[in-house]
């Protein structure tokens, strides 16, 4: 129907064009205007040029004034203030060049329009004049180059690492993750081969330096101290863009990059300055990376140095949050404060390696082994990556509704198991709602031990059965 409408409208426009044109031709014939004459039309065109320019210039000024409030606030980094300065200074000089050339370009057509009997001025060249307008731009460019280079070299002269806050930032489809070196101020090594669904950074657990590294869900940086970002990507190109700090650097798989800057305003100061109590610094991606390119937002918080230290102290090292996982790589690993069950054999833990988003998109269902504190429905931190990957799916497919069903093994009371599995499913729903997913898109169910997928006689089978199933509905 719509296609028909469109075609009809198109045809109508075409018919009107043809009619107007026919009428115009007839009028020309009626008037007896001779073709090939240079008449009124030439004068009109000549007149519109300066009008276009001056009206355009007024609109330029007006639109600039009304767009200005929406430009980013003043740079919140040391180098940013200088690059902004370069931008506006160069812009000013260019504006002068723009005005001079355009005044001439738009006024000359009016001044030198065709006049009967007039002859144009035969003026093939003037070497002096040409020399002038070669040398002047050359000098201006030389000036730009010198000042630009000085600043460029400053930006890319890196301070000693010991004086910086070194933070690793990793881009993947479609999220950012950050890793801090922890107490020892040394980031643990990583190996690309170690990357899996839990160990998203590929942290090398044979390197002791990685045992205090932590992976928070926000990027915190201290005001007034050099921050060195170690940037990498694990699938396709991404680009770290911190608009308020004038920071941009590609994240390249297989080729780590870096960028350093000094934040100059805390989030709180920026809130006060912009008068926006909800102001937040953000991290975006500026290298096309696929479907979710536009949604790789990561929250950035600038603290003053005291707050920053407090925040850092509160962070729990990644290995402690993923003790079960770490034990699969480092047998006998015990996180501080963890109850050591030396007598009972450690229940096998299944680490999910499936790509949740892909499975759900393709098959519409996936089975996950999400960790809960034993006998309770509290999500552990180790289970967050799985929850997050469900969240990623739900953000990538905005319309999808899912059913989350909990399953247990057959040990213990059947009724209790059923309730517990329902509560656990509900806990995941709650976590997702907290992340911003609409409640109506989620449904929690509990089946207890009713639907085993493996033999409950073995520990391995039991582990298989303790699972959460996600299904698209």
């Amino acid at each position: 129907m719509n296609g028909l409408m469109l075609t009809a409208v198109g045809a109508l426009i075409l018919i009107i064009l043809v009619l107007v044109y026919r009428i115009h031709t007839l009028v020309v014939v009626m008037r007896g205007a001779k073709s090939g004459d240079i008449g009124m039309a030439n004068k009109v065109n000549a007149f519109i040029f300066p009008v276009f320019f001056f009206v355009g210039l007024a609109l330029f000024y007006w639109s600039y004034q009304s767009a200005k409030p929406y430009f980013l606030p003043e740079a919140a980094s040391e180098h940013g203030k200088i690059t902004d300065g370069i931008f506006w200074e160069v812009m000013l000089i260019l504006l002068i060049a723009f005005l001079v050339t355009n005044v001439l370009l738009y006024v000359f057509p009016f001044l030198y329009q065709y006049k009967e009997g007039k002859k144009a001025y035969f003026y093939p060249d003037n070497h002096k004049l040409e020399m002038v307008w070669t040398v002047i731009p050359a000098l201006v460019m030389a000036f730009f180059v010198v000042f630009g280079l000085i600043e460029w070299n400053k930006i890319f002269t890196f301070p000693e690492e010991s004086k910086c806050e070194v933070i690793e930032i990793m881009g993947k489809q479609f999220a950012w993750q950050v890793r801090y070196p922890g107490q020892d101020n040394t980031l643990g090594k990583y190996k690309f081969k170690e990357i899996d669904a839990t160990n998203e950074f590929g942290i090398d657990l044979t390197d002791k330096a990685s045992f205090d590294d932590f992976i928070p869900r926000e990027l915190h940086i201290p005001k007034g101290k050099p921050v060195l970002l170690r940037i990498r990507a694990r699938d396709v190109l991404h680009s770290v863009f911190l608009p308020h700090f004038r920071v941009k650097m590609d994240a390249v798989p297989g080729m780590p990059t870096k960028f350093w800057f000094v934040p100059t305003k805390t989030t709180a100061e920026m809130r006060a300055e912009t008068g926006n109590p909800k102001f937040n610094y953000e991290l975006a991606c500026t290298e096309i990376c696929g479907r979710g390119h536009f949604a790789m937002r990561f929250l950035v918080v600038v603290d003053d140095s005291a707050d920053y230290e407090v925040w850092k102290k509160k962070q729990n090292p990644w290995v402690n949050e993923n003790a079960d996982y770490v034990r699969t790589k480092v047998p006998g690993f015990v996180a501080p404060g963890e109850e050591v069950k030396t007598t009972t054999p450690v229940a096998p833990v299944i680490v999910d390696t499936v790509n949740v988003v892909e499975e759900l998109t393709k098959k519409g269902e996936v089975s996950l082994h999400i960790n809960f504190a034993s006998g309770s429905s509290d999500l552990t931190d180790a289970s967050m990556p799985s929850v997050k990957s469900i969240f990623e799916f739900l953000t990538s497919d905005k319309k999808a509704k899912i059913e989350i069903s909990g399953h247990t093994d057959n040990s213990g009371d059947a009724k209790k198991n059923k309730d517990l599995s329902k509560q656990r499913a509900q806990a995941i729903v709650d976590a997702l709602v907290k992340l911003g997913i609409a409640k109506k898109r989620l449904e929690a169910k509990g089946f207890g031990a009713e639907k085993p997928v493996a033999d409950n006689a073995t520990e391995e089978g039991k582990a298989q059965n303790r699972r959460v199933e996600i299904k698209k509905i």
Partner: protein, 608 residues
């Protein structure tokens, strides 16, 4: 000189021998697989128009998404089918639209449509040759382009969509089918299509260069050639040197995609899987791509500058100011265009020292560019300007060339580029300086040489309306993008609502979209004028613009071989407009100095 003369005579002789055969050409040889440069030029022109419509419509589709992010797009379902789900445009298809718009406009419209049309049409006519050096290669060139177009067109309809990794097709995104749907069969077709396109460009370029060097008529020395020919000549050389590099990049990408090599891939974990490819570098591809990609900007722009040089001189009734400086600046720009490519890569992780070198070289380009702009302005100064539609579009081009060129100086400044890289500021910059400016050059060329192509005139009033609406529309589309870019909005974003920093400018994006719809719509005035005039336009006089160049000495509808009799000889440059003492305000190139004693300058005598 004598050698050239002999070749020319031999050629003319050979032509005469076969003269009587031409009447018996089958229509397929005459209109489809033709070796006549004029027919091939028209084939390029019609293909260019076809692709421009497609490229334009694609841009409107993604502008709808950007301008009206909340609108229900179900009404587009008849056109887009499954790419509209629940009234929303698919985000991957949005990227595909952006990618295809860029590819089509840069390569199929502004390279093939512009160079292909006017180099083919004007080189033999303006240098006084019966045809291209090799009519057969010329024909092959078009049909390779046609085939390349067919593949690209098919890719639009594949179930997984056309290529979607941006027109720059950076790997790994373009190399990994699991990273984005567009990198499946769509990307394969893209690469095959581009490979054929490059073959076409090389065959065409070889022909242009050979023809200009070898087939100039007697007296047509290099320093008498019209600037159009200089521009096409230099453009062809740039293409010949840079396209093979893109070809190698495309080839290596095909290997990475299909044969498990790792030129551009290393340490990739995707879809829960560790890829085996190790040791490649994505940055290497960027170097290969931009080694063509940057000269490509000038492949697109220089022919347009050549065309406008000719039109501005003719319609101002003045010699082009600084003819030699114009040639040197084209040559200078062409040379520099090869050594500035990495300014597209300041923040890609490339060594910052390289960044400083490329910044220096990039800003040097501003000098010859400025010379060109000033020379245009000096040409219209004290002219006797006739505003034909072609002249209007040429002035429009100079305006865009200045506006867009100036912002390039900011982007070339590596330190300022950190913030602006991959934002709408870049989009605004290149759409003005390379997109719109070249487009205006192309349209100006069509208006100017339409009488020579079809023996009829286009309607001037419609031309004026078309110009002013397009000129205003194009500025309304691209000027506000600078503001959005200064505000930091990244390009290739499906939607900006996810970020606090980019949540402003909703109205401005809507305004840009409306302007884009308006601008594309008014192109139908041109299309109507164009097709109507082919059949019903006023008959053209022999030399409608009172121009000096040789093409206007051919019959109104030149046949195969262009001149029925002997090819005219050339005695002077093509810019003797309003020469003091001369009775008329133009003296065509084939008039000997001996016939214009009253206006000859000291030293101007025929050297026979």
């Amino acid at each position: 000189m004598s050698a050239v003369g002999t070749i020319e005579q031999a050629h003319a002789h050979a032509h005469d021998d076969h003269g009587h055969d031409h009447h018996e050409l089958h229509w397929i040889q005459k209109y489809v697989f033709s070796e006549d440069h004029k027919v091939i030029a028209k084939q390029y022109l019609f293909s260019g128009i076809f692709w421009a419509i497609i490229g334009g419509v694609l841009s409107l589709l993604f502008r709808l998404q950007l301008g009206f992010p909340d609108a229900n797009m179900d009404w587009l379902q008849p056109l887009l089918g499954g790419w509209i789900k629940d009234g929303k445009l698919d985000p991957e298809f949005y990227l595909a639209l952006v990618t295809m718009h860029g590819t089509i406009m840069v390569f199929f419209v502004l390279t093939a449509g512009l160079s292909g049309t006017f180099s083919n049409f004007l080189i033999p006519l303006q240098i006084g040759a019966r045809d291209m050096a090799s009519g057969f290669l010329n024909m092959l060139s078009f049909w390779f382009f046609f085939l390349s177009g067919v593949l690209m067109f098919i890719s639009l309809f594949t179930s997984t969509g056309p290529a979607a990794g941006g027109w720059t097709v950076y790997p790994p995104l373009s190399a990994l089918p699991q990273a984005i749907q567009g990198s499946q069969s769509g990307m394969t077709l893209w690469l095959l299509s581009m490979a054929l396109f490059i073959v076409s460009a090389l065959l065409g370029g070889l022909n242009y260069i050979t023809t200009v060097i070898n087939l100039r008529t007697k007296g047509m020395t290099f320093d008498r050639m019209p600037l159009t020919i200089w521009a096409f000549f230099i453009t062809a050389i740039i293409g010949l040197l840079s396209f093979p590099v893109l070809f190698s990049g495309a080839l290596l990408l095909i290997f990475d995609r299909s044969f498990g090599t790792s030129f551009f891939l290393s340490e990739i974990y995707i879809g829960g899987e560790h890829l085996t490819q190790m040791g490649g570098s994505p940055v290497l591809f960027q170097h290969l791509f931009w080694f063509l990609g940057h000269p490509e900007v000038y492949i697109v722009l220089i022919p347009a500058l050549g065309i406008t040089s000719e039109i501005i001189a003719t319609c101002s009734r003045k010699p082009i100011f600084g003819y030699k400086a114009m040639i040197f600046s084209i040559v200078g720009i062409a040379f520099l265009s090869f050594i500035v490519w990495a300014h597209h890569m300041f923040v890609t992780g490339m060594n910052p020292f390289l960044g400083s070198i490329f910044m220096l070289l990039t800003l040097i380009i501003a000098v010859p560019s400025a010379v060109k702009a000033f020379n245009y302005i000096a040409t219209i100064w004290r002219g006797n300007i006739v505003f034909t539609p072609a002249m209007l579009f040429s002035i429009g081009l100079v305006s865009f060339f200045i506006s867009g060129g100036l912002t390039g100086i900011i982007l070339g400044n590596a330190a300022a580029d950190i913030q602006l890289h991959d934002t709408y500021f870049v989009v605004a910059h290149f759409h003005i300086v390379m997109g719109t400016a070249s487009f205006f050059g192309m349209v100006a060329g069509v208006y100017h040489w339409f009488p020579k192509m079809f023996g009829r005139m286009m309607d001037e009033t419609l031309g004026y309306v078309h110009f002013w609406l397009t000129f205003i529309g194009a500025y309304c589309v691209f000027f506000p993008m600078h503001y959005i870019g200064i505000a930091g909005f990244p390009r290739r974003y499906y939607s900006f609502t996810g970020f606090d920093a980019f949540s402003s400018f909703v109205d401005l994006n809507m305004f840009i979209s409306i302007s884009a719809i308006f601008t594309v719509t008014v192109q139908f005035i041109f299309l109507f004028n164009f097709f109507y005039s082919i059949f019903r336009g006023r008959r053209s006089p022999l030399n409608p613009w009172k121009s000096n160049t040789l093409e206007w000495t051919t019959p109104i509808n030149p046949g195969h071989g262009n001149w029925p009799g002997e090819i005219p000889h050339v005695y002077r440059w093509s810019y003797d407009y309003s020469k003091p003492g001369a009775a008329d305000d133009f003296i065509p190139q084939h008039i000997p100095f001996s016939q214009t004693k009253e206006s000859n300058l000291p030293g101007e005598v025929d050297k026979e």
